[in-house]
């Protein structure tokens, strides 16, 4: 949670964006993020992001569901209160497959969506800073993080030379806070200390 300084540039064509990402990385800049209106395959690799392990989480949630269903039904129908249904065995595994399968899917799906929201910090009333509102419409917005050593003028003209438009220096909050998009202020303002 900190306000940082960024250099941003907008691209209107992914065919210009890709070589720009390559060049920027080659020059040693730190790309904070690229905000795009739709998923661009290969951009994550070009930016050097690692693959997501969300599917691994999905698998773990899934087998948790399988174990929960099988374990619970076995316990309930063979140990806690065995009931004779038409002379069939108490442990009648084939009849439990449908519910086991459904709970596997349910646990996996709910768990994955929850993990996804957790990792991306998504929730109702979460507010984040935008670099350009058109990044959800038709612009690809690249944000470079500035350090003490960054030469602003040089970086701005470099980004421009790569085809970026509307190149700017922006001060933005990197984290999220509780807020509403129709109001500027935060829901929970830190209380100002009283001066005696």
């Amino acid at each position: 949670m900190a306000v940082k300084k960024f250099i941003t540039g907008c691209f209107d064509d992914e065919a210009v964006l890709f070589p720009a990402v390559k060049q920027v990385r080659k020059k040693g800049y730190k790309i904070h993020d690229v905000f795009t209106p739709f998923p661009i395959h290969g951009l994550d690799k070009a930016m050097g992001l690692r693959d997501t392990s969300l599917h691994v989480a999905g698998f773990i949630y899934g087998i948790t569901g399988t174990a929960t269903a099988l374990g619970f039904i076995t316990w309930a129908l063979t140990y806690d209160w065995p009931i004779n249904f038409g002379g069939k065995p108490f442990f009648s595994l084939p009849a439990w497959i449908p519910i086991t399968f459904e709970l596997t899917v349910l646990f996996s799906a709910v768990g994955m969506v929850w993990t996804f929201c957790w990792l991306c910090q998504l929730a109702p009333f979460v507010k984040k800073d935008h670099f350009n509102p058109r990044s959800t419409d038709d612009l690809f917005v690249m944000a470079l993080e500035c350090t003490d050593k960054t030469n602003e003028a040089e970086s701005l003209s470099f980004l421009q030379s790569l085809g970026a438009k509307d190149v700017q220096v922006q001060h933005k909050e990197t984290g999220w806070w509780w807020g509403r998009y129709d109001k500027e202020r935060k829901i929970f303002e830190p209380k100002a200390e009283k001066v005696h």
Partner: protein, 484 residues
């Protein structure tokens, strides 16, 4: 403008007209941002009226008991379970479009998936009403859940197909909502960033859950969509399989057949696609989305209707054959004497089903008919009538005359409150659909933008230019993994 992907010129474009990314946003957001039209209000008010009639019908049923319906000891299931299976079947097309076609990498799904998934959710909501209110003492409905109770605890029967249904349908509903909403988030974020009015900023700000469009978030969202599609594919097959188990695991002639799971799934997709056609033909016209839901989309969906309708037809004939081949007098009676017999009480329903589901869809072998909007609309209604009769035939003809003639029931026909309940679910369905088209984008435009440079008309026309690029340029621009 240089091109990203190459797609064969033989494939017709999926987005018609000279569109760029911004134009796509404008076209899809316009109906959401404009004031509701007169047509919208008329449709919405009729839907709410139907919904109120349905609520009153259910109120009668709860107050006076299931006796408000014409069910009895022989005809224990009638319109209610027919409508339940019918609605749940309609839901299946949405999942097929969003999940199975995603796995098969079908680009055309992007134009129709959002509306179809919404249709799934609303249809499952309607379907769920029937078994719940059929319980009679609906205030005890929570008895179906395995919760620790003071009666032992006494657990529900996990070996019962009806309990499998509880788990299948609640899982199906939950997963469908999650899948639909996770895909909706980026589009809602666009609406939020375009919003001018205070309430819009507030509403879409909350529903967009803080989406920014970060590359990492997109990467995770795509991984999520892929795994959810992988989970939904067997899920959707399991749901209608389990619904068919409600019948197939019984010993009633006409229900007790092993062909039911595949036959029910094919029928579900068949009726679901018909409902998608009914909805989208109107939606694309009223909301001016003909450039995104093109005649190509309608053509492809009609092919699926033809395919699944024919599978259902083969299943009907197989049933008749197996009934004869089994040499079982009860099976023979159920299929040859009560169903495929015009002189039996419900013979008319059987032949109505045959005509609507097997005979009429054969018209879609003709390309001209597949691409004719009036024919498609008419056929989509016919198919859903036919599929309603299929469930009616399966349920009612089987129970009203089973083994002992002394146990045979009287001719079953619904009361006004049974019909009212059914109409009420139409009200629920269309009320939800009207609210959906008013407040959310009907077309998943982030996904449309994703295929725009491959399948957009103006870009396809430029694809010849690719050949004039130098090798070096080509490697520079296209030399990374774009996937499909």
């Amino acid at each position: 403008m240089s091109l990203i992907r190459y797609e064969s010129q033989v494939r017709p474009p999926l987005v018609v007209g000279d569109k760029d990314y911004h134009q796509v946003t404008e076209d899809v957001c316009r109906p959401v941002e404009a004031r509701p039209t007169k047509l919208w209000w008329i449709g919405f008010i009729i839907s709410v009226f139907l919904l109120c009639f349905g609520i009153y019908s259910v109120y009668r049923e709860v107050t006076y008991g299931v006796g408000q319906w014409n069910l009895n000891r022989t005809n224990g299931w009638g319109w209610d379970i027919t409508n339940f299976v019918w609605w749940i079947g309609i839901g299946h097309a949405g999942t097929l479009i969003s999940a199975i076609l995603l796995l098969f990498r079908q680009g055309w799904r992007t134009g129709v998936n959002r509306a179809a998934e919404a249709m799934t959710i609303f249809a499952v909501m309607c379907a769920g009403q029937f078994p719940i209110w059929h319980m009679g003492r609906v205030w005890d409905a929570f008895f179906v859940l395995p919760y620790p109770n003071t009666r032992g605890p006494l657990w529900p029967n996990f070996n019962s197909a009806l309990l499998w249904d509880v788990f299948a349908i609640s899982t199906y509903f939950t997963v469908s909502v999650l899948f639909w909403y996770s895909g909706l988030i980026p589009d809602v974020a666009t609406l939020r960033d375009r919003a001018k009015k205070k309430w819009r900023k507030m509403f879409y700000g909350v529903t967009a859950v803080g989406w920014t469009g970060s590359t990492k978030h997109w990467q995770r969202l795509e991984a999520l969509a892929l795994v959810l599609a992988g989970l939904s594919t067997p899920l959707v097959l399991s749901v209608h399989t389990i619904v068919s188990f409600d019948f197939a695991t019984s010993v009633v002639p006409g229900w007790h057949t092993t062909i039911f799971p595949p036959y029910f799934v094919a029928g579900a997709v068949f009726s679901g696609f018909a409902m998608v056609q009914t909805l989208l033909l109107v939606t694309r016209k009223v909301l001016n989305l003909e450039e995104y839901i093109t005649i190509e989309h309608i053509d492809v969906m009609n092919k699926i209707i033809l395919l699944t309708g024919s599978i259902v037809g083969i299943a009907y004939l197989t049933e008749l054959f197996v009934a004869w081949y089994s040499a079982n007098p009860y099976e023979n009676f159920a299929f040859w004497d009560t169903r495929a017999n015009l002189n039996s009480p419900y013979g008319w329903a059987y032949y109505c089903m045959m005509a609507c589901n097997v005979l009429f869809p054969q018209i879609f072998w003709i390309r001209k008919m597949r691409r004719n909007l009036m024919v498609t609309f008419f056929m989509s209604v016919i198919v859903n009538i036919g599929m309603w009769f299929e469930r009616f035939v399966i349920i009612v003809t089987s129970v009203h005359r089973d083994y002992l003639p002394s146990a045979w029931g009287p001719y079953y026909s619904p009361t006004i409150w049974e019909i009212g309940f059914y109409l009420g679910t139409f009200g629920l369905f269309f009320t939800c659909y009207f609210l959906f088209v008013k407040f959310f984008p009907v077309v998943a435009f982030a996904e449309i933008k994703h295929i725009l440079k491959r399948s957009g008309e103006s870009y396809k026309n430029q694809m010849g230019e690719l050949e004039h690029e130098s090798m070096e340029d080509f490697a520079n621009i296209h030399g990374h993994d774009h996937g499909a």
